[in-house]
């Protein structure tokens, strides 16, 4: 339980088209492992106006991509910085990063825990 506060899940909600860039930036810095989820979200960004049979309608949940990387606490700043640098366009809708505590990490294959599990 000593390592409890030492693992963090960095959840970054980004633009789908930024995924490739974020992925390679993280990989280049040694953070190859990650999990990616397609989500929809809204924040300060307005929805998208679409048309069907001559009428407009608003899709207010926009497609976003969530990249999740579990890292030791010491790497959090670097990961956050990497994501920020590559995922930012300066326009509304760039997304958010949430850092969440992870109590334990287990590698299913071997049963290794925490640091060794990453």
């Amino acid at each position: 339980m000593a390592e409890m506060s030492e693992m963090r899940k960095v959840e970054a909600i980004i633009r789908p088209m930024k995924l490739e860039e974020v992925k390679s930036a993280l990989a280049d810095a040694g953070f190859v492992s990650m999990t990616v989820i397609d989500v929809r979200g809204r924040g300060q960004q307005k929805g998208l106006v679409q048309q069907w049979r001559g009428r407009e309608y608003c899709v207010d949940l926009l497609p976003k991509t969530r990249v999740e990387v579990v890292v030791p606490e010491r790497d959090v700043d670097q990961v956050v910085e990497l994501i920020r640098n590559t995922a930012a366009t300066g326009n509304i809708g760039d997304g958010k990063i949430f850092v969440i505590p992870v109590e334990r990490t287990i590698r299913i294959r071997t049963g290794e825990e925490d640091d060794e599990a990453l």
């Binding site: 679409q50 048309q51 069907w52 049979r53 001559g54 009428r55 407009e56 309608y57």
Partner: protein
């Protein structure tokens, strides 16, 4: 004597020649007769082949309708829609065999309906051929309704309604127009309507019989049924996008192809060259309808709308169905353009004013443009035997408004109204 001998010889000669000639001429008589028969039956065979293949193309329209309806609605209703469309064909085949044909083409009862040949009793190959071609039309009329009622109809109720449509609603109006009997309400020489109007109603391939009937029956159905959950919020129409535009567009192209059989085959004669005019006009009107609808939505909404453009194709096709064998090429284009406008206006009108929910625009396409097609005959018809229609045998009899005639227009109005009233009213009664 010499001379006489000469005569004798000459005469004998002549007689010999004659004797050899006479049976030859008789034999030729026979071969000519048998040839004439062969040629006639070859003509019939050509018609059989042509109508079977055209019927096949019309049958393909069911695939087209299925795809348009499935593609332009939500994924969760796809299985239901497909089942409904497949069952429409199946019921169409069986019921039109059982009852529909008898009511439409059986022995005439007062010009109102037919009543004989149930179950095609006594049929021969000519009847099977005709039945097949007519049956695919009947099933098409029925399937129109499924589009308008998509995404909310009770399956069992739908099946019953389809059965009644193919058994009664469709064939009765069909009898008025296509039965060919002297008293046939809208087209027979002995009918009071024809005599009153001074011209016979003309609906080449069914802007009225198939499309108006289907379209206004659909209107009745949609009104009885009410809109889909969530279609209107505080009276304001909401958007419910379709789920697969590729299916929708494939469907439209299959429908277009199907119309080659629908209109091309409707001279019912493989040797009638005017099938070519009909087909050329059909394709021109379809293209014009699409372009018109595209430009309209482009101007109105800032971008060309795919599903309304697709409706524009169908609008042009439905509208040209009645006049395609009676008008010039330019008129076909004009008819198509106006149809494209009608379908756009009609869809908006249905949603915003009538507050009816018609997911694929079936009422505007088949109902409104069907009516427009019938009226267009009265406006643009060249008149059988005139100009390009020299030699035509199946076209509107009298010239339209633009060619100085009035009677044809009047009778078209009467026939168009008859279709609306008959399909809508009987549809309402049956459904409630």
């Amino acid at each position: 004597m010499e001379k006489n001998k000469t005569y004798l010889l000459a005469s004998i000669l002549v007689m010999l020649v004659l004797l050899s000639l006479s049976p030859q001429v008789a034999a030729q008589e026979e071969s000519i007769e048998s040839l004439t028969e062969s040629v006639d039956s070859l003509g019939t065979a050509l018609t059989f082949v042509w109508l079977l293949l055209c019927g096949g193309l019309v049958f393909l329209m069911h695939a087209g309708f299925s795809l348009v309806e499935a593609g332009f609605t939500r994924a969760k209703n796809t299985a239901n829609i497909l089942m409904k469309n497949l069952m429409t064909v199946c019921i169409g085949v069986l019921i039109y065999w059982l009852v529909g044909w008898a009511i439409m083409y059986g022995d005439d009862v007062g010009g109102i309906f037919g009543f004989s040949q149930f179950c095609l009793s006594g049929a021969d190959n000519a009847i099977w051929n005709a039945w097949f071609f007519q049956m695919v039309f009947a099933a098409t009329g029925a399937t129109i309704v499924s589009g308008a009622m998509a995404e909310r109809t009770n399956f069992k109720a739908y099946l019953v309604f389809t059965g009644l449509l193919v058994a009664i609603i469709y064939p009765v109006y069909g009898h008025w127009v296509w039965s060919g009997t002297d008293l046939a309400l809208l087209t027979g020489d002995g009918s009071w309507i024809v005599q009153m109007c001074g011209a016979s109603f003309h609906d080449f391939a069914g802007s009225g019989v198939v499309h108006s009937i289907g379209g206004y029956a659909a209107l009745a159905g949609v009104i009885v049924l009410g809109p889909r959950l969530g279609k209107f919020k505080n009276g304001k129409p909401q958007v419910i996008p379709g789920h697969n535009i590729t299916f929708g567009f494939l469907g439209v192209l299959l429908l277009w192809l199907g119309w080659l059989g629908f209109n091309g085959g409707s001279t019912l004669d493989g040797s009638d060259a005017f099938m070519n005019l009909a087909v050329a006009n059909t394709f021109l009107a379809a293209a014009a309808g699409a372009v018109a609808a595209m430009i309209l939505t482009w101007v109105k909404t800032g971008k060309p709308d795919p599903s309304l453009t697709a409706n524009g194709v169908l609008a042009g096709l439905v509208a040209i169905t009645a006049p395609c064998g009676s008008v010039e090429n330019w008129a076909a284009i004009v008819i198509g353009i106006i149809a494209g406008a009608i379908v756009y206006a009609g869809v908006m009108f249905n949603e915003a004013v009538l507050k009816v929910d018609d997911p694929v625009g079936a009422i505007a396409v088949h109902g409104y443009c069907g009516t427009w097609g019938l009226l267009a005959v009265g406006i643009f018809s060249v008149g059988m035997g005139n100009g390009i229609l020299d030699g035509a045998v199946y076209a509107a009899g009298a010239p339209g408004l633009l060619y100085g005639g009035v009677n044809q227009f009047i009778v078209q109005v009467v026939g168009a109204l008859a279709a609306i009233v008959w399909a809508f009213v009987v549809g309402l009664i049956v459904l409630s």
